[in-house]
């Protein structure tokens, strides 16, 4: 009973925090629609992956392919049918589901690193083909974009000279509906982010439900000892396949949303490094935990966008407080790690987190929490004495 209450509270807090992003994130410089939408989208992607990897321990290196397939499916709906995102998202989830069913069915015949390499092989094949031969379908290198002469059979043309925007029954995704000035920050509230946020909260809810269900227990049992399960006469494959397809559908939804918020689907997002990034997000945040994957996704997206935009001039402005030699020294120390060096920082950060915080950021947070409560307890004891 207590557990159920806790879950409700968790979902509630999670929802409130996510919905208040444009306000909370303002001081961090991340409160602009595009990045907040990416936070939510990659959060969904990571939540889905966590259902497979966090629960069953099966490490897939191919989930970026499902994201890509979802994006392509959504783009084709925008091009052929309508700019309404509703059918596009449904199709991207469905197509990604079918695609992951096929790949999962084959890959899950193996386990361990053999499984990882099989998924990697499928993903690389998809990427290579999408980049070159499948160009009529994917527009290859350039990525699939909207064009003025797309049919869009359900839509009526309003302005022949400009591309239409994605919308949910008329609500334009990119439209900023409230643009107030609060505490000196210019806040931007747009529909796109709230669509993403709503779906993220829904995904989170589903993930909590799966974690608490008998199905989730079974998946955990697979991770703990699959051989024993097999000896007791339980075939684990239907369960792992179900987890694989569910996580594939989450990836498809994320891919569809990416195309919805920014109507372009590029082959790059199917590359194995994109899958690797996903694994890093989940592990960084804390795999197998509920909130970890979302934290990891936000963390990596934030660093990716913020670090890469710092240049020598920004640094000079930051460090201009001291004498000039000190400014120059600080700039020359920090410069290799930002701008063109942001990947270096990210790589080093992973090594530190994986080495010292095996449970990811969530683990780190719990340790800090324990340390604080422990300190309180010690303080209380000291007062008593």
């Amino acid at each position: 009973m207590k557990k159920r209450m806790n879950d409700k509270l968790l979902i509630l807090i999670f929802s409130v925090v996510i919905l208040a992003f444009p306000l909370i994130l303002a001081p961090t410089g991340a409160a602009y629609p595009d990045l907040m939408q990416r936070f939510a989208i990659y959060g969904i992607f990571a939540i889905g992956f966590n259902i497979l990897f966090g629960l069953t321990g099966y490490l897939s290196f191919g989930h970026a392919a499902f994201l890509g397939v979802g994006s392509y499916a959504a783009m084709w709906m925008f091009k052929l049918l309508t700019m309404n995102i509703f059918p596009a998202l449904i199709l991207s989830v469905l197509i990604a589901g079918i695609f992951s069913l096929l790949i999962g069915f084959i890959s899950l015949r193996r386990s361990g690193i053999y499984f990882s390499i099989l998924t990697l092989a499928f993903a690389q094949m998809s990427y290579n083909l999408a980049y070159s031969v499948l160009t009529p379908l994917t527009n290859g290198e350039t990525g699939l974009q909207l064009r003025l002469d797309d049919p869009r059979v359900l839509d009526t043309v309003v302005d022949a000279g400009s591309l239409p925007s994605t919308n949910l029954f008329g609500l334009e995704m990119k439209h900023v509906f409230w643009n107030p000035e609060i505490l000196g920050y210019n806040l931007q509230f747009n529909y796109g982010f709230y669509v993403c946020a709503a779906l993220l909260i829904l995904s989170f809810y589903i993930s909590v439900k799966i974690f608490r269900s008998p199905f989730g227990m079974m998946l955990r049992a697979v991770k703990t000892n699959q051989t024993r399960l097999n000896y007791t006469g339980i075939s684990t494959r239907p369960y792992t396949l179900a987890a694989f397809v569910i996580s594939g559908m989450f990836a498809g939804l994320a891919g569809g949303l990416l195309a919805t918020m920014d109507p372009l689907a590029g082959a790059d997002r199917m590359q194995w490094t994109a899958s690797g990034e996903l694994v890093l997000m989940v592990v960084l945040g804390g795999s197998g935990t509920l909130i970890g994957p979302v934290l990891g996704a936000i963390f990596i997206r934030y660093f990716n966008s913020v670090l890469s935009q710092i240049n020598e001039f920004t640094l000079h402005a930051w460090f201009s407080f001291g004498p000039e030699w000190m400014t120059n020294l600080l700039v020359s120390i920090v410069d290799p790690f930002v701008g063109e060096g942001w990947e270096l920082t990210l790589g080093a950060l992973f090594m530190l987190v994986v080495t010292f915080l095996p449970g990811g950021l969530v683990d780190g947070g719990q340790r800090v929490g324990r340390w604080i409560t422990g300190a309180n307890r010690r303080a209380a004891k000291a007062r008593e004495a």
Binding site: D34, T142, F169, G170, L264, R269, S308, Q309, N311
Partner: protein
């Protein structure tokens, strides 16, 4: 009253659903009444420089950034003014643009369309950039151009050579100063004919993606027009790192010319393999075997080392040019950084100046005003001779350089020599040329 915006087309079909939204009190609606996206209201104007800082083209991106910083200094009246002094239009006074000081933000495209768009978005939404420029590959340039069109800002393309950028993917808000595959081919073909004769059999190796295809299509058409025969066109994967298995079949194919439609790392590796297999010393049907690299860049030539010697290709600009504009730019860039600029640096410097000049002439930062000022603009003094920005596809028309790997370089930068400056008239084409057909410019978008 309320400037709550709904998609009219959507509204027609789903009026009932939207009802609740329309009833929202005006306090919740957008307060800013900017006339266009990111209208600069303070004393500064922000430009967004979006270049590859990681990945295979990072050196090219770094050189672009250097040129951008130089351009910003010159616009703000610092430094020696560079090509501003030789530019035929004298609107720029060295006091910023329209009196506003120029500031900039930078981002990393990673040479991936996704990352490039995310980076450009953050410049537009977070930093208030009124113009985005940069890029070192066509896929990225086309992706970002599409984004700028939708967001209502101007895109000044950097190094992008695919026909599609101003062909089937052209956009009203996007402008390209760099040349393209068709121009490379049109400039190269006469030189190839003069050097190697009109009776040649060419074997093409082509990077298997959009740029490679348009490049191959252009060069095959141009060489066939002078009488060459295309023996084969083999597509090579972008991810290939070793080209030996693509080069070996050339040996006994009967071809006497190898055309490498590759760029960057692909070009360096395929050229290296071709030279290793002794193709340059080979005689076929009594003719000396030749290798052609249609698109050259000095940075790539450096990577390929000795192998580029004597090999023909084309380039947009080269620092050894002796016109006043080029000399001023090389001087100014060389003083600042100690080495001569690359063609990527040159094109982005020109683009920044052209943009600033257009703002000045239009008297506004409004993308539609700027587009109007750039369309049909004729100028000179930026290193390529008299140049025309065509209004119907936003492509610059200017002389194209045919270059050759230098036999005896005098320094590490002196790798290419200009063998011919092909006049502009020879590389011009009709706007509805089949290689550029299939797209529409659309109408300019200022985001209002």
């Amino acid at each position: 009253m309320s400037n709550f915006k709904v998609n009219r087309r959507g509204l027609l079909k789903s009026g009932a659903v939207i009802g609740a939204g329309v009833a929202m009190p005006t306090i919740f609606t957008a307060s800013s009444a900017a006339a266009y996206t990111n209208e600069p209201t303070g004393g500064t104007v922000t430009l967004g420089f979006n270049v590859p800082q990681t990945g295979a083209y990072a050196d090219e991106g770094a050189d672009e950034l250097r040129a951008y910083q130089l351009a910003v200094q010159h616009l703000n009246g610092e430094g020696d003014g560079g090509m501003m002094n030789t530019f035929s239009s004298s609107e720029l006074q060295g006091n910023g643009i329209l009196g506003k000081q120029v500031v900039f933000v930078t981002g990393d495209t990673q040479t991936k369309s996704d990352a490039a768009r995310a980076s450009a978005q953050s410049m537009i939404q977070k930093d208030g950039a009124v113009m985005i420029t940069g890029g070192s590959s066509s896929g990225v340039a086309i992706a970002v151009q599409g984004l700028c069109q939708e967001a209502g800002v101007i895109f000044m393309a950097g190094l992008t050579h695919s026909n599609d950028t101003t062909g089937k993917d052209k956009k009203a808000n996007g402008f390209r100063h760099f040349f393209n595959g068709y121009m490379s081919a049109a400039a190269l073909a006469p030189v190839l004919e003069a050097r190697y004769g009109s009776d040649r059999n060419a074997y093409h190796l082509t990077a298997d993606y959009t740029w490679g295809w348009t490049q191959q299509e252009s060069i095959a058409a141009a060489t066939e027009a002078v009488g060459w025969n295309t023996v084969a066109n083999v597509l090579t994967p972008l991810t290939a790192t070793d080209f030996s298995s693509y080069i070996a079949p050339v040996l006994n194919s009967g071809a006497d010319v190898l055309v490498l439609n590759h760029y960057g790392g692909n070009m360096i590796n395929s050229l290296t393999s071709a030279v290793q297999f002794g193709l340059r010393d080979k005689m076929v049907n009594g003719k000396q075997f030749e290798i052609v690299v249609p698109l050259y860049s000095r940075l790539m030539a450096r990577g390929a080392g000795e192998n580029v010697k004597g090999i023909l290709g084309s380039t947009n600009w080269h620092w050894s040019l002796q016109d006043e504009g080029s000399k001023a730019f090389v001087q100014s860039f060389g003083q600042a950084y100690g080495f001569p600029p690359s063609q990527a640096a040159h094109t982005v410097y020109c683009q920044t100046l052209l943009y600033a000049d257009a703002c000045q002439r239009a008297g506004t930062f409004n993308p539609c005003g700027i587009a109007e000022a750039l369309e049909g603009f004729d100028f000179d003094g930026l290193g390529n001779g008299p140049t025309h920005y065509r209004g119907s596809d936003h492509q610059c028309f200017k002389d194209v350089l045919v270059v050759q790997g230098k036999e005896n370089p005098t320094s590490e930068f002196d790798l290419l020599e200009v063998v011919e400056v092909t006049p502009r008239a020879q590389v011009e084409y009709a706007v509805d040329h089949p290689m550029f057909a299939g797209g529409a410019l659309g109408s300019c978008n200022d985001g209002s």
